[in-house]
């Protein structure tokens, strides 16, 4: 099938020697040892801060996931604590339900301190 035929930097299109690439419509049978699970990596950059999502990687087990995360995500002192969790255990909200989930917060401006007008002498409250 023809999609984008324009040849951009770093994007060799299918009709110029870049053959049709795979996209999981026909997943491979699974070569031996190629099926390490996917892990999500969370890094705390500094004691006192939250762990923040840094990226993902494949590893055979949790210990290897931490070791690999150390090697790719903390080479320049970006972290001092790592969490890993297998990606399959993460449940994500559905973007199509964003309206139902988040719109109700929109008209509740009384939840913000700026909603309350106070006299100057106490306005630092």
């Amino acid at each position: 099938m023809n999609y984008i035929r324009k040849f951009y930097y770093g994007d060799i299109p299918e009709d110029k020697g870049g053959a049709e690439i795979s996209d999981s419509k026909n997943p491979p049978s699974g070569g031996r040892g190629a099926d390490w699970p996917l892990w999500e990596v969370f890094i705390r950059s500094k004691q006192g801060l939250d762990h923040k999502h840094a990226g993902s990687l494949h590893a055979a087990d949790a210990q290897m996931a931490i070791e690999n995360a150390r090697d790719v995500y903390t080479r320049r002192m970006e972290g001092e604590s790592i969490w890993v969790v297998e990606s399959k255990y993460i449940t994500a909200s559905n973007p199509e339900e964003a309206g139902e989930l988040y719109d109700p917060a929109k008209d509740k401006i009384y939840r913000h301190p700026s909603f309350y007008n106070l006299p100057d002498e106490v306005n630092l409250m």
Partner: protein
């Protein structure tokens, strides 16, 4: 909702600079274009380690060896960030690797050139990473969220790559006559392939700019290439070297450097697989994958064993 509406909402987000995230609805062509581009980019990072890896054991000092190791390790990381971004589009890592090994998926043709002398390592850092940075800085604003985030991370690491390359050439350019000649020779050989990295001229393409409309790309090949030429033409003055192009000249009217014609025939030959090292590179990747199989298998077996310990055996071991 009809597809038409989904497409409108999608394009609306793009137009308003709202990033597209993995679970959002997206046109299939957008998804496939991103898979192709991100995977090619990932393969380029990984194959790009080979020409440089060639010099790790032969770097002229411990300092240069440590620097080169660190750079090559960064490139492995870049490959990982990009493979992960690619996976968010529903393609498995294994499929992506298979496509590289079968020759279906391409990588940047620059990595099909050989690294003949130590000066090539400096020239690669300065010119090849320099050209890649032009593209990657633009891509930090690409419309697909995971790709853009990978690019931000990559760009933070890239500037060290270009600087160490330039610094290494600077040392050679101030060295002996042989070192100077080696420096100039490396620049001569890498200059044109580096310009080719930006892809064919914009005028070559008769097709619509869908990648621009979707903001996967935000600058044209010619624009990026011109920015690169303007940057390098100035920087080379510090090295006291010459770019191998008689037509290179500042154009006061355009406020840009003019430069000579690229050998597009060579470019297409290399893309089609007939470059000096295409076969060698792919063979090296396949060999690494095949010879790593027992490691992958052993790690998987060990993980399985740990996950389901035999209670009686486990107890015995603990008692012992």
């Amino acid at each position: 909702m009809p597809v038409q509406n989904f497409e409108q909402i999608f394009q609306g987000k793009i137009d308003n600079e709202v990033k597209i995230e993995p679970k959002d609805w997206m046109p299939d062509a957008y998804r496939r274009t991103n898979i192709r581009q991100i995977s090619q980019h990932a393969h380029s990072e990984v194959v790009g380690m080979l020409p440089e890896g060639n010099w790790i054991t032969r770097a002229p000092s411990l300092k240069r060896k440590a620097i080169l190791l660190a750079k090559v390790q960064d490139e492995a990381g870049h490959g990982l960030y990009l493979y992960s971004a690619c996976e968010t589009l529903g393609v498995s890592r294994e499929e992506t690797m298979n496509d590289l090994h079968s020759g279906k998926a391409k990588y940047s043709s620059i990595f099909n050139y050989p690294t003949l002398t130590w000066a090539d390592i400096g020239a690669i850092g300065w010119l090849v990473d320099g050209a890649a940075i032009m593209n990657q800085v633009m891509l930090t604003r690409t419309s697909y969220g995971p790709y853009a985030r990978a690019m931000v991370r990559i760009c933070k690491e890239e500037s060290f790559h270009q600087r160490q390359g330039f610094e290494s050439l600077l040392v050679l350019s101030r060295g002996t006559e042989e070192q100077k000649a080696m420096c100039q020779d490396a620049i001569n050989r890498w200059w044109w392939p580096a310009l080719m990295m930006f892809g064919p001229k914009d005028s070559e393409s008769t097709n619509s700019d869908q990648s621009m409309k979707w903001k996967i790309k935000r600058k044209s090949n010619d624009e990026l290439r011109q920015n690169f030429v303007d940057m390098i033409a100035e920087q080379i003055k510090t090295l006291g070297m010459k770019l191998p192009d008689d037509k290179l000249k500042w154009n006061d009217e355009r406020r840009h450097y003019d430069f000579g014609e690229i050998n597009w025939d060579e470019f297409w030959q290399v893309v089609k697989g007939n470059g000096p090292c295409n076969k060698q590179r792919l063979d090296a990747r396949k060999k690494a994958w095949e010879e790593g199989e027992w490691v992958r298998e052993a790690a998987a077996a060990y993980a399985r064993k740990k996950a389901s310990p035999n209670p009686s055996k486990g107890g015995a071991l603990e008692a012992a």
